[in-house]
Symmetry: C2
Subunit: 336 residues, 2 copies
């Protein structure tokens, strides 16, 4: 059956996509699966051009789908009884295990935000925690030995609670945000001593360290615990700090951004998913360089449409093509 014929049936296309994802890492001897915990939300997003309601959102939704292009995901989160069953079907078709997603009575976490004209700043219009208010992540038995962990953006206390239930994970990535730096700093500091890599954006790195130089900020955060730090700079790319190593990546040059929501979460998911799929013996700085690029590739697709719409139909070929574009736009020697 030709691809054209298949593409007429949405379910079959999804199946083919998932199969493609498996192909992508076929040369790996075993899958190093990734546990992802974070928020699952229904978002209402307004940009200067469009507004859409009840979109799938939340840090875990973006991170899990981003990671799923590279590795199987064990998802942890909570949804209410208003949450569409079709999303569970979609996750399953993408190698995302949903055993750890609690479905409880009540409404799903809801967030509503509005972006300014330049899409660089946004205002939260409303937040309704709903079932998220009493959420305590509990890991199913088959999740506890997951070798790689991504603590997507939620309260540091919940992130630590997940780590408490893990059996000696190989590598732990944590994402955070200004809210936790400002309101639960002690919890965040406690978490930092337990993670291998912290992801945060440039303004958050400055706020956390009181340093104007991102280079100093990155080094200073490493002294708080994480061996590695990734600083996201939006349109300016990302920086990665190791002990004696440093990597600077540009951002993909997009002219039309439709919805920046979830770009950071998708970066984190793509980064951690790539790492989980490609680390053999030890986690090296060189594999993390590529993980930063793949995270940036995924994030660049994310913002091309509202919610997860672009990522839902993304193909491995598109990821591979954009990775090549990143290579072309950032290399100045040995151009292949």
């Amino acid at each position: 059956m030709s691809f054209r014929a298949k593409s007429r049936n949405p379910d079959e296309v999804v199946f083919k996509l998932a199969a493609g994802s498996l192909d992508f890492a076929r040369d790996d001897e075993q899958y190093m699966s990734l546990l992802v915990v974070g928020s699952i939300a229904l978002d209402t997003v307004k940009t200067p051009v469009e507004e859409h309601a009840d979109l799938l959102g939340g840090s875990a939704s973006y991170a899990a789908l981003g990671a799923s292009f590279f590795t199987p995901v064990n998802l942890v989160g909570v949804v209410g009884d208003d949450f569409p069953e079709s999303e569970f079907e979609f996750w399953k078709s993408h190698r995302i295990d949903t055993t750890g997603v609690q479905r409880v009575n009540g409404k799903t976490f809801r967030w509503s935000g509005e972006y300014a004209w330049d899409l660089n700043t946004r205002e939260t219009r409303s937040v309704a925690l709903n079932v998220f208010e009493t959420f305590s992540p509990e890991l199913p038995a088959n999740y506890r030995a997951t070798p790689f962990v991504l603590l997507a953006n939620i309260a540091p206390k919940l992130q630590s609670h997940v780590l408490d239930q893990m059996e000696r994970p190989r590598f732990i990535v944590a994402d955070t945000m200004d809210l936790w730096i400002e309101t639960t700093r002690a919890d965040l500091d406690a978490l930092l001593r337990r993670v291998d890599l912290l992801i945060l954006n440039d303004s958050e790195a400055r706020e956390m360290t009181k340093e104007t130089s991102l280079i100093r900020a990155g080094r200073k955060i490493r002294e708080c615990g994480p061996r590695y730090v990734a600083i996201k700079k939006g349109e300016h790319g990302a920086l990665l700090f190791g002990e004696d190593e440093f990597f600077s990546a540009g951002a993909y040059p997009l002219e039309d951004i439709h919805d920046p929501t979830g770009a950071g979460d998708t970066f984190a998911g793509g980064f951690a998913g790539y790492l989980a799929a490609h680390v053999r013996e030890n986690v090296t700085f060189d594999v993390m360089r590529k993980a930063v690029i793949y995270g940036s590739v995924l994030a660049s697709f994310c913002v091309e449409a509202f919610s997860l719409e672009r990522l839902r139909k993304l193909t491995q070929d598109e990821i591979a093509d954009r990775y090549q574009m990143f290579k072309m736009m950032s290399q100045f020697e040995v151009l292949a």
Copy 2:
């Protein structure tokens, strides 16, 4: 005689530096010299930590010295009778021809500025144009056939006046600033139709095009005339735009910046100097990628000390080492 012994005599060190510069491009069949026109000034600079008066400054001073590490320079400018003769000796020792520097009665152009605590914003405290007020650049006969031209930052009318006197240059690079975008836009637009590459910083690119996206801004400036556009982003590196090509370079990760003055001019000089020295047949996008990196290397040294002090004692080995660092920090494949 050992290097240590030599370094006790400043003049000998300077001579050795100049000889080193020649070595650097020895594999080129011929030198493609660069004409540099711009301001030559005596600066007073205040940072939150230090203040220094009567330092050599001006766009042409930084640009010419930056370029001189790669190629011989024909300098065009004006100084007053208070300008130190020793600077002429220094220029000569760096392959900078000063036949085109007019020495007239009166005081040299003076600028005084103060940087904010984060060194990212500065305020001009005073400007005294002095001999610069009536400056009209006149090219000596032996300058007119210089193949490469860098119009460092001065009024677009003066930049155009220099082009009027040139005999079919191969490649013309122009630098500009917000002042000319705001006050002499028509002159700038006329100039843009005559140059091959425009250099400006990110805020200037946005101001010029009214676009918030630097990607759109870069493309839009290309439509005004220049086939290539380089956008400097300070701590975030630089972007280079061609017809169907795009290059994104990170900035060198400096922790201690002493004086940002002249970084942009030095970038322009390093860029144009590298280009002049390394273009054989045609100016390709690939050689421009490297020119962006070498420009960034030179600029990263510039800010390590006040005025041109760091550049005065810079060696070819240091440039080569930092170029390798750039390679290490930006490549994610084929790491050599």
